[in-house]
């Protein structure tokens, strides 16, 4: 079977600013239709990577390939730029009407007025703002402005979409509704997207793969559960947070609580869900209790799983215990407990956590 | 956008058939040139660029070859100019006189005096405010000459102030400050309405103000428009120009501002 060629590929990409190496990416592949998120602290190089991939800044060394063809300043740079779109944290709208803004990319490409009118209407509709068409860009709210920026980006039908923390300056309700809409649109259009964000939950929800960055390097890249549950090093672990993240399908529901099938095991959680719906569970290690045997007697915890300790990592005042219960699970124990329970790698223990302690993320997928 | 239409570049006037006439501000301010020049231009087709500066600067322009012909009234400096080979064909055109003016109160009591040097001595003696043009103009040179003859050194004295301004403005300053000054009759008459100054001393031979035209020497500066300069000089001493000069100012001021002298010798001049 032929592996489809990546839509974007990078080889030994480096960017230097004033002599300092600020970006060092030996290789990166982006598949067509994929949504990749970049997470990392401020100054990690997320923006630099996005701008280098969009050819808005010139790398000090390295090569970029779009659909297997090389892109450089004297080689197809311009044609490549016209196939992508970028949205920044600030909407950066032009001082004119919403219509003029959304049509700017199309005007730049020299499209005819009729064409432009059609595409603008389409995209305003898509982002739920057709009523703003003749409004001045100065007279709309922050959320509306960001929608206009997105409509402007989509109007040119980009093959790759770059988003640099596009929701960061919005207030929570505005952000929520926009993420909802964007997620739906991205799935519908199948647009290859790379976006940078601070918010792990955003990355979790929207992306097919997550790349954790620090100091200009990608430390780990993979599907969200992999990166979040199996961080390769301390930094990644501390950045992604140490919850266990599991994906499951709702198998049974009953009065506000439900059961989801996670890798063959039934886990109970609380929330309003539909049968068959895919959910993501985040379980904080503080909420996982270990015991050498099944807890006897009634407890309010319904989730009791046997598992084998795969790794014990000292974390200063406590220990992090990684388990394999048929699905990965992480627990924290004090040094005292470690001793008392005689926990060692390879030992079998019972892990317990309350249904109410699970943070449920509903991953809304479009019916395919 | 309509506005832009007004901003058409004004066309370059025929630089070929033009001459640069360097003259003094008092000559221009009298208004005589406003009458004479158009006649000349119409007659010969030359375009005259009249640059009015002080006599000193006019002759400096001549020295640099930046003018074609001069019309000035600073005889001593003119003679030096000719002697140093910068000018040729110096011809007497007209004369008028200088007058000593001052406030009606006349604190130095020079009214009616007939000798300018005596009047100056009295002004110095009384320590009365005297305004000098201080700009190396013809008037300034004349003033310095009078001080010299009267044996007084006014520079640096408290009552002696130098304006560095043209004649008209110096008269205004003098009027405001109620001082004395030396002025040419023409400018004084033109401004008389707004000045609070009276003519106090006049008629002295020393106060004679003669005007000459001088061609800038083409030998020194080949770029000068010699033909044009010659035409101008010829015009200024012509009967036609002299007639205009004779009658200029009569209807406005009651007496002529200038007395035509073409053809006469300088020594023969007098009132």
């Amino acid at each position: 079977m032929n592996v489809p060629a990546p839509i974007l590929e990078v080889d030994r990409l480096q960017v230097r600013k004033g002599g300092t190496l600020v970006l060092d990416i030996p290789s990166l592949r982006l598949e067509e239709g994929e949504i990749l998120s970049l997470i990392g602290p401020n100054g990690a190089g997320k923006t630099t990577l996005l701008q280098a991939l969009a050819c808005l800044i010139k790398p000090s060394q390295g090569e970029l390939f779009f659909k297997e063809k090389i892109v450089s300043s004297n080689h197809g740079l311009f044609q490549y730029r016209r196939k992508l779109a970028m949205v920044f944290q600030e909407p950066l709208l032009f001082d004119t009407t919403v219509f003029e803004n959304v049509s700017s990319g199309l005007k730049i490409r020299g499209l005819k007025r009729a064409e432009i009118g059609k595409k603008v209407a389409e995209n305003l509709e898509r982002f739920g703002i057709p009523h703003l068409v003749h409004r001045s860009a100065r007279k709309i709210s922050g959320g509306e402005a960001q929608r206009v920026a997105l409509a402007r980006a989509f109007a040119t039908q980009p093959e790759v979409l770059f988003l640099d923390e596009p929701f960061a300056s919005l207030d929570p309700p505005t952000r929520e509704s926009l993420i909802d809409d964007l997620e739906r649109i991205l799935r519908q259009t199948g647009t290859t997207t790379i976006f940078a964000t601070h918010d792990r939950m955003e990355a979790l929800r929207l992306s097919d793969r997550v790349a954790v960055m620090n100091r200009g390097r990608i430390l780990q890249i993979g599907p969200p559960p992999e990166v979040m549950n199996q961080p390769l090093d301390e930094f990644v672990a501390s950045f992604v947070g140490v919850e266990t993240i599991l994906t499951g399908r709702v198998s049974k529901k009953d009065k506000g609580s439900f059961l989801a099938s996670v890798m063959g095991h039934e886990v109970e959680a609380v929330g309003e869900v539909e049968l068959g719906e895919t959910v993501v569970f985040c379980i904080r290690p503080e909420n996982v209790t270990l015991s050498p045997s099944s807890p006897k007697g009634a407890t309010s915890a319904r989730n009791v799983f046997w598992g084998r300790i795969t790794k014990i990592i000292p974390m200063g005042l406590f220990y992090k215990v990684q388990l394999d219960c048929g699905f990965p699970l992480v627990a924290y124990v004090t040094a005292r407990s470690l001793e008392d329970l005689a926990l060692v790698e390879g030992k079998e223990v019972a892990a317990t956590f309350k249904a109410t302690s699970i943070h449920v993320v509903q991953k809304k997928l479009v019916e395919t | 956008m309509i506005i832009c239409l007004i901003f058409i570049f004004p066309s370059l006037c025929g630089a070929q058939k033009s001459i640069i006439l360097a003259t003094t501000t008092s000559t221009q301010d009298s208004g005589l040139l406003d009458v004479l020049i158009p006649v000349f231009e119409k007659k010969t087709g030359y375009f005259v660029k009249t640059i009015a500066v002080g006599s000193g600067q006019a002759m400096a322009m001549g020295q640099k070859g930046e003018a074609d012909v001069l019309l000035v009234h600073s005889p001593a400096a003119e003679k030096k100019f000719i002697a140093e080979g910068y000018g040729v064909n110096r011809r007497l055109v007209m004369h008028n006189d200088y007058i000593v003016v001052g406030p009606a109160e006349d604190p130095a009591k020079i009214k009616g005096m007939k000798v300018s040097t005596e009047a100056f001595k009295k002004i110095a003696g009384a320590g009365a405010l005297f305004l000098s043009r201080g700009d190396n103009s013809g008037t300034h040179s004349k003033e310095k000459a009078i001080w010299k003859v009267s044996g007084i050194k006014p520079e640096g004295q408290k009552w002696y102030q130098e304006t560095g301004l043209g004649m008209g403005q110096t008269l205004n300053v003098t009027s405001e400050k109620k001082g004395y000054t030396l002025a040419d009759r023409g400018t004084y008459l033109a401004l008389r309405k707004t000045l609070h100054l009276d003519i106090l001393t006049k008629g002295d031979a020393l106060l004679l103000n003669s005007y000459h035209v001088i061609e800038v020497n083409p030998a020194k500066w080949p770029k000068v428009n010699t033909t044009g300069a010659k035409a101008f000089v010829g015009f200024m001493v012509s009967k036609e120009a002299q007639e205009v000069t004779k009658t200029f100012g009569v209807d406005k001021f009651g007496s002529p501002l200038f007395f035509p002298d073409a053809g006469k010798k300088e020594e023969d001049l007098g009132k």
């Binding site: 808005l56 | 506005i3 630089a15 375009f47 009249t50 043209g166």
Partner: protein, 232 residues
């Protein structure tokens, strides 16, 4: 006091009767200062934008030069232009001294740094990422600069008004390089100086009033354009 009143009446009279001399002088003022402003617009906005967007060694030095140029004493400009345009000067062969062309040159030299400096500041004040956003929309270099200039049009218009204001009211350089020749290189400012030194105060005041009116109307038009686009 009545002198001013006389002046106002004289101004009214001259305007209403379309006094030919005054009309000629006024038209020339507009032509000379208008042309100079136009030149300063073209050079000032293009170079100002270039410097604002480019990175190059010595950029700070160039910026400080431009800022100094904004305060260039017009009289000094006049002096240097005269020396260059003299018959025996390096550009003497052009034969433009004591012509309106020389006045346009001098005024353009005075106005250009003003427009340049304000353009530089205006473009630099635009959001940092705006340039990248425009490039990401697929714009060519030229399209990008054009869009940026349009975005900065409010302060840019102010710059043009500053440039125009600076030269319509200029007198020192205009007299030096123009010669104040009647019907040829005499403009409102130089004529005012001359009439004052002649003692014709009423005419001088009248010319002054006409100059003020002219400057006011031009700026009224430009201000209208600018304020129409003002964020409310």
């Amino acid at each position: 006091m009545d002198l001013i009143l006389e002046g106002i009446l004289k101004a009214f009279y001259l305007l209403v009767t379309f006094d030919s001399e005054v009309m000629k002088i006024t038209l020339l003022s507009l032509q000379v200062s208008g042309s100079a402003t136009l030149i300063s617009l073209l050079i000032g906005i293009s170079i100002g934008t270039m410097v604002a967007l480019a990175e190059f060694p010595g950029r700070r030095f160039v910026v400080s030069l431009i800022n100094t140029g904004m305060g260039l004493p017009p009289v000094v400009v006049g002096l240097f232009v005269t020396i260059f345009l003299w018959r025996n000067g390096p550009l003497g062969f052009l034969g433009v001294l004591y012509t309106p062309t020389a006045m346009i040159i001098a005024q353009a030299i005075i106005a250009t740094p003003i427009v340049m400096g304000i353009t530089l500041a205006a473009i630099q004040a635009l959001p940092k990422n705006l340039r990248l956003q425009i490039l990401a929309l697929g714009a060519t270099r030229f399209q990008m600069v054009w869009i940026l200039v349009k975005e900065a049009k409010l302060p840019l218009l102010a710059g043009v008004m500053a440039g125009f204001g600076g030269v319509i009211s200029e007198v020192g350089a205009s007299i030096m390089v123009g010669g104040n020749i009647k019907g040829y290189s005499r403009v409102l400012t130089t004529a005012t100086v001359m009439e004052t030194s002649r003692g014709n105060f009423d005419i001088a005041i009248a010319l002054g009033i006409i100059l003020l009116l002219l400057a006011y109307f031009i700026n009224l038009i430009l201000t209208n354009i600018q304020q129409r686009e003002r964020p409310r």
